[in-house]
Amino acid sequence: MEEKEFIQNLLNPKTQNEAFQKLLLDYQKPLYNHIRNIVLNHDDTDDVLQNTFVKVFQNLKKFKGESKLFSWMYRIATNEAITFINKKAKKNGTTSEFLQTKIVENLKADSHFDGDAIQIKLQKAIVNLPEKQQLVFKMRYFEEIKYEEMSQVLGTSVGALKASYHHAVKKIEIFMIKD
């Protein structure tokens, strides 16, 4: 089924339920991973993922098909995740950077994390990067999203994304060889 046809099914009240179920099945796992990489813990990811799908459903009428469904949904998920960590930080009277660093420091105790020392060190290296570089690195390295697609999600040129990834990799490599 072509994307245009699928979008029509999503907008048509008669076919909406079935189409939305399919959308959920197709995107729940990749969007979970995308959000989890940003907010880091499972419970927060669950909240953000649910809100993302609710927002997608509520805004289906506004989706004009100018961008791909994939990039539109990833854009909503990214915004929801970033807004969530900023709100959480504000609630705790701290910055989102400090909050994320704390979560990474306590990853060992997280029951939904089974990484080894190298994986923890990589997470620590990532959390030290500027926000945009973190996002680009996670989307490219962990989620293997193509630069062209990432460009549509983040509204940044492919060249700028490649440069961000390159800077991120350099900083991570330096961090990884430190004791």
């Binding site: 959920l24 989890r36 990489n37 993922l49 509520q58 990589l122 962990f142 060889i177």
Partner: protein, 136 residues
């Protein structure tokens, strides 16, 4: 570790685990959330703002009424004292007062009376003091 190349080394997984069966009931959770109307959120600040404005309005009104009555009473008292002083204490005669009146004041005290000429004549002829007034 002497050298680390992210693109040469074998891929490092993020290490995040998804709880078993998490996606088993995920669709239902989302659909339930979509079908449950969100409770209307009324901002506490907005409520407080209205409340504060009403308190402020009541305060301003009560203050202005008190002040107005005080000023009004005071000015009435002042008028009375002045009137009493002029009539009882001062040596200002009616003639002095008349000289102080300008055309505007005279206009103000003018009374529009439509009197019949015959009636005026009648009153004047019957009044014994008319001659005194005329000579004066």
């Amino acid at each position: 570790m002497n050298d680390f190349k992210i693109n040469n080394n074998s891929k490092i997984d993020s290490g995040f685990k998804i709880p078993e069966d998490y996606f088993g009931n995920f669709s239902e959770k989302v659909l339930m959330k979509i079908n449950t109307p969100e409770p209307k959120v009324i901002s506490i600040f907005h409520k407080r703002k209205t409340w504060l404005s009403s308190v402020a309005a009541v305060l301003i009104i009560s203050l202005s009424i008190t002040l107005y009555t005080k000023i009004a009473v005071k000015s009435m008292e002042e008028k009375l004292t002045l009137e009493n002083y002029i009539t009882n204490q001062s040596e200002i005669s009616q003639y002095d007062l008349v000289t102080l009146l300008d055309t505007k004041d005279i206009d103000k005290i003018k009374i529009d009376l439509k009197l019949d000429d015959t009636k005026i004549e009648e009153v004047l002829t019957n009044s014994s003091e008319i001659e005194n007034y005329l000579t004066e």
